[in-house]
């Protein structure tokens, strides 16, 4: 990671800045990301237009919000693969509460987010108190929550008429799509949590060495539970945004959400072994995936081939991470 730059002479401040940038973890990623942008701009003129960029941002929101929180999950040494199903359940529950039970919209949203947080906390508690790996518990939830969503809706979409809520879900503010604003807001929020709060720093300590963290007096269990609850809440928010966009509650949405969210985090440099990862890295990862998907659509790439490309990108990202870590540990 840290490039060994031989300090032969006293560097000027400009050189020092250059060295700091050179030694930055995400530099390689940023270069690749810029290269992708340049390539796509040259290949399709419509890529770099303002409206297309906003649409990239809007689409990025539908997995980026989850990806930001997923960064905390992965840094803490856990994983959440139930996010797609959680989003579908959130959407379905909203439809049932509002359209079938007559619950007011705001109350329904609060209820849905509360239920989501509870489900995430459950997975975290299973990890903390019964030592069930989150890979297993969220794999179970991956299936169960999707099934539950289909159960409560009979697998039929429930149309929800527009209301004020949907302006906030699907409208625009100053020409910027609301989901994009949510994306940026969540990104900033998670970055602040990760870097500026005791909780955020503790997440890194827990993921880096949970035994040492525990002996240092960090409430390891509480932190894991909280992180998992945040993750499923972010998934529920995504489910609500998707419902707003579709004007319906739907149990089939957000299939593959876990893939894009985890990919963005991994591309951003987080290590699945925990302790390492940054929100800035994940932000670049989110934009990278969103731009890549958008570019491939504009270029008319066969949708099946698109999936192959997405898979390959994740694999390469992991290989680069491993290679970088190994070079670091030798040097």
């Amino acid at each position: 990671m840290t490039e060994t730059t031989a300090p032969t002479t006293t560097p000027s401040s400009g050189v020092r800045l250059f060295q700091r940038v050179r030694s930055w973890d995400g530099l390689g990623l940023l270069v690749v990301f810029i290269a992708l942008y340049v390539t796509l701009s040259i290949m399709t003129p419509s890529f770099l237009t303002a409206s297309n960029q906003l649409s990239i941002l809007q689409n990025a929101a539908f997995f980026g919000i989850v990806a930001f929180v997923m960064t905390l999950v992965i840094v803490s040494g856990e994983i959440d693969i139930s996010v797609g199903s959680m989003a579908a359940l959130a959407s379905s529950l909203l439809g049932v509460f509002v359209m079938k039970q007559g619950v007011p919209m705001v109350l329904a949203i609060v209820l849905v987010l509360g239920i989501a947080a509870g489900i995430g906390a459950f997975a975290g508690a299973m990890r903390s108190y019964f030592n069930v790996p989150t890979f297993i518990s969220t794999l179970a939830l991956f299936l169960a929550l999707r099934g539950l969503a289909q159960l409560v809706t009979n697998n039929f979409p429930i149309p929800i008429p527009s209301s004020d809520f949907f302006y906030w879900g699907d409208g625009r503010v100053l020409g910027i799509p609301v989901p994009a604003i949510y994306l940026v807001a969540v990104g900033v929020l998670v970055a602040v949590i990760a870097r500026r709060t005791v909780f955020g720093r503790s997440v890194y300590a827990v993921g880096g060495n949970s035994k040492a963290a525990s002996l240092s007096g960090i409430p390891v269990r509480r932190i894991k539970i909280l992180v998992m609850a945040m993750s499923s809440t972010a998934a529920a928010v995504t489910g609500l945004l998707l419902s707003a966009q579709l004007s319906s509650a739907n149990s089939t949405i957000a299939v593959g959400l876990e893939f894009d969210a985890i990919s963005a985090t991994i591309i951003g440099g987080a290590a699945l072994t925990g302790g390492k990862g940054t929100v800035v890295g994940t932000a670049i990862g989110v934009l990278f995936i969103a731009a890549l998907l958008n570019g491939m659509v504009l270029l008319g790439v066969n949708p099946y081939a698109q999936q192959v490309v997405r898979g390959a990108v994740v694999l390469i990202a992991v290989l680069v991470n491993v290679w970088r870590t190994r070079r670091h540990s030798i040097g």
Binding site: R195, T197, G208, I218
Partner: protein
């Protein structure tokens, strides 16, 4: 036949940079002989073992095996040549059977399939050498620790080695298991295998070994028949004459108020009613052999053991419901003997590591306070003289000594009043050791009390104001100030109890 020399090492020398780990050591081993290899940590025992078993190559000196000079390029070559090592850590796969583990890496194959019958036969032969009765098809993970140790030894025997090296084979076993294991070793020797037996447990030596070699500071000090020396003489050979140039001044803090009182602390099979008082600004040493309950004592006080019973008072107030976070809130910190696994968070910076306990205690619970934090970290790093390029340098990239200073410094940064230090100088170079001793003393001068557990008796003698001797889970003697010399501590720690209950 019985006098045939199997292994002869001459002038074994090994240096690591400026440090001489082993210098001109001669070592000879006869068929059927059990040789105990003794010495303090860092005396050169493991270097010698590593040279014989091919993990290291000597800078000077030669090894002859059955009269032929050998040069092992790696452990595999030594193994093929007839040298087998059983390391302290098990290398067993819990999910495989006993037979599969014993023959691991050499599973006999027939047309691409594992030949189960041949495999079991090899394994049975190795177990028979030990005269052990363990079902071959049992899953290793379900065996008792002692049985796993036997499987580990059988694994080393499958190639029918001429020399078997046992590195602290009994450290995880209880008394009866130890006796059974010693019996197995005698039996092997009787069958003609030459055994090198490395152990800290002195009372095993007369039971198992014919001869003993003592190393100190990389040199061979003495080689004797076990029968011809007393354990006190051995203790003296091991510790040597103490010559500490900058001896720290001993203080007597017994008049100071008691900060921590432990009463009748019990842990099943480990501690049998330990009571002690720790005074303000006192450094209290706990000395005892491996398995005497040293670590369990610290763990129990810190609330890490749920099977511990007994009363703990802090500043005269009874602590109910001990657990680590509560103890830290009360100003009691603990550092584990396993720095890598339970001390440092290696991928975080030195500064972050120093702040782990302080946050939420001397620092606010929610928001970070960057300016206050960086000042705290700067002060701590200066007080600890941690050598790092910046507080952001990953602690895992520092030397062991600086890592350890970081772990102790975590308690310092959080203004802890009582430190429970388990082997705080393990794997740390001499210079850093001296710094850590000084640090503990300086903290004590400032009123911080420490319980100092170490297997290095010189440092206990040097650092501690008062020393308690722990044997078989009980506190037996108390040595005050200058009474506590390394020889005395060792002699007391090794003293054999007349059979109790």
């Amino acid at each position: 036949m019985n006098d045939e020399t199997i292994l002869a090492c001459r002038g074994m020398t090994k240096r690591f940079g400026a440090v001489t780990a082993l210098e001109g050591v001669d070592f000879e081993l006869k068929r059927g002989e059990v040789r105990a290899l003794l010495g303090k940590n860092g005396a050169g025992k493991s270097t010698l073992v590593n040279l014989i078993s091919g993990s290291l190559q000597p800078d000077h000196g030669e090894i002859t095996l059955l009269g032929e000079t050998v040069h092992w390029a790696n452990p595999k070559a030594a193994q093929a040549g007839g040298i087998a090592v059983v390391h302290q850590e098990f290398s067993l796969v819990p999910g495989l059977t006993v037979a599969e583990n014993i023959t691991m890496g050499r599973w006999p194959r027939r047309r691409g399939f594992v030949n189960g019958a041949a495999l079991r036969e090899h394994a049975a032969r190795a177990l028979a050498l030990l005269g052990a009765d363990i079902p071959l098809t049992a899953e290793v993970g379900k065996l008792a620790l002692a049985e796993q140790q036997i499987v580990e030894i059988a694994k080393a025997l499958v190639d029918e080695p001429k020399v078997l090296i046992l590195d602290e084979p009994t450290s995880a076993l209880n008394q009866t298991e130890v006796e059974a294991l010693l019996g197995l070793v005698r039996r092997l020797a009787h069958g003609g295998v030459a055994v090198i037996y490395v152990s800290h447990r002195m009372k095993e030596i007369p039971l198992v070994a014919d001869t003993l070699t003592v190393l100190r500071d990389g040199r061979e000090v003495a080689t004797h028949d076990v029968a011809s020396v007393s354990s006190a003489q051995v203790a003296e050979l091991i510790s040597g004459s103490i010559d500490v140039g900058t001896e720290l001044e001993h203080r007597d803090r017994r008049e100071a108020p008691v900060v921590l009182r432990v009463e009748d602390l019990k842990v099943p099979h480990r501690l049998h009613g330990v009571s002690l008082s720790l005074h303000e600004g006192e450094v209290l040493g706990i000395a005892g052999l491996l398995g005497s309950g040293r670590t369990e004592l610290l763990e129990s006080v810190f609330g890490l053991r749920h099977d511990a019973t007994g009363r703990i008072e802090l500043g005269g107030r009874h602590v109910v419901g001990r657990h680590p976070r509560r103890m830290l809130d009360l100003g009691v910190a603990y550092t584990s003997e396993d720095r890598k696994a339970a001390g440092i968070v290696s991928m975080l910076g030195v500064g972050e590591n120093l702040l782990l306990t302080a946050r939420g205690r001397v620092l606010p619970k929610f928001w970070l306070r960057p300016i206050k934090e960086s000042r705290l970290v700067k002060d701590s790093m200066a007080a600890l003289s941690i050598r790092a390029s910046s507080p952001d340098q990953e602690i895992g990239t520092l030397s062991g000594g600086n890592q350890q200073k970081g772990v102790i410094g975590r308690a310092l940064t959080a203004k802890m009043r009582v430190l429970l230090l388990d082997e705080p100088t393990r794997g740390v170079d001499l210079h850093a050791k001296a710094q850590i001793y000084r640090l503990i003393r300086e903290l004590a001068d400032g009123g911080v009390s420490s319980i100092f557990v170490s297997s290095e008796l010189e440092e206990i003698a040097e650092v501690c104001d008062r020393v308690l001797i722990l044997r078989d889970g009980r506190v037996h003697e108390e040595l005050i100030g200058r009474e506590a010399t390394a020889e005395r501590i060792l002699a007391l720690a090794m003293r054999q109890e007349h059979e109790h209950d």
